[in-house]
């Protein structure tokens, strides 16, 4: 991240950083996105694998928290059924602002493989809650989930500024 740095003092070390409050807040938010463990189906296993030692989501600052009050991001991993949709909405509303939503996997993006004959499947979780990042895949590899997290971090970094978020 780019921080305007004052000219160093006579000892050669800069010890004052001047930046905007927005940048500081965005930086602290994106470095500690606590996720609500909301595993629904097969993608939840890939989410668990990403949190385990091999891929290690925690080095990005992402810690699984069980309660919606203590989390920043909810990763909808798995198929959202009609029965579950009202509970997803309730959990999303219980989260405190600023909150972000990652839709992981084809099922929560658009209904996935169940789009055609699934009478009990919600075709995309964006029919009930607003989504920030969509991660394609069935299931997405752990690397794909990490890339999705990094995209969300880019989005958070650009928050509140007059920058067009084109990527």
């Amino acid at each position: 991240m780019e921080l305007p740095v004052l000219p160093t003092d006579k000892t050669g070390e800069g010890n004052v950083i001047v930046t905007s409050l927005d940048t500081l807040f965005n930086w602290s938010r994106l470095s500690s996105l606590w996720q609500m463990s909301f595993g629904l189906a097969c993608c939840a296993i890939e989410m668990m694998s990403t949190a385990a030692a091999h891929y290690d989501m925690m080095r990005f600052g992402v810690i699984p928290r069980p309660s919606p009050r203590q989390s920043d991001v909810i990763i909808i991993s798995g198929t959202v059924t009609l029965k579950m949709a009202s509970r997803v909405k309730m959990l999303y509303e219980q989260m405190a602002d600023p909150k972000y939503v990652i839709s992981m996997g084809n099922c929560s993006n658009c209904g996935g493989p169940y789009w055609e004959y699934g009478y009990h499947v919600l075709r995309g979780v964006d029919r009930v809650i607003p989504v920030d990042v969509y991660i394609p895949g069935c299931p997405p590899r752990p690397e794909a989930l990490l890339e999705g997290l990094m995209k969300l971090q880019e989005k958070v970094r650009a928050q509140g500024k007059d920058i067009e978020f084109t990527e």
Binding site: W115, H120, L122, R123
Partner: protein, 167 residues
Amino acid sequence: MEQLGIIERLQSAFGETLGVWHASNSESAYARRMGSFFQVSDPARLLELAFFLRDEPALAFDSLLLLSSVDHGDGSLSVVYHLESTVYRHQIVLKITRPMAQARVPSVTSVWSHANWQEREAWDMMGIRFEGHPDHRRILLEEDYPGHPLRKYFKEPDFYHGMKVPN
């Protein structure tokens, strides 16, 4: 005991009018499992038959493997019972067919407690009533879901609790 032996036992105990034995006409090694079933013609005697199959020492069908429901597409529904004996290792298949307007069958929950959830699912998916079931409610879908989905001419609802369902 061979399948024919079991059928002879049944017919000697209940008479010839209990049902019809449809044997699979294949000579292959899989003939034992392939399509042979006993079509029970009088549903009112089902409970008596079930108790006999379970308690008769030579038959000892102590395990209900699966209870499924089939829609034949011509206005009739069937309930299919797969039974097995862990003592003698023999299996038998019972089938009861009813017209859709009178889809009522006695419940065998008092014989095999496995049937409890299996019958609830058959009610949920196919709309077959099980008389005498202790807890006759839907198991997979919500109580207010319109229709029974696995019927052949089922059409999914357009809106459910305010959410758009079709594609």
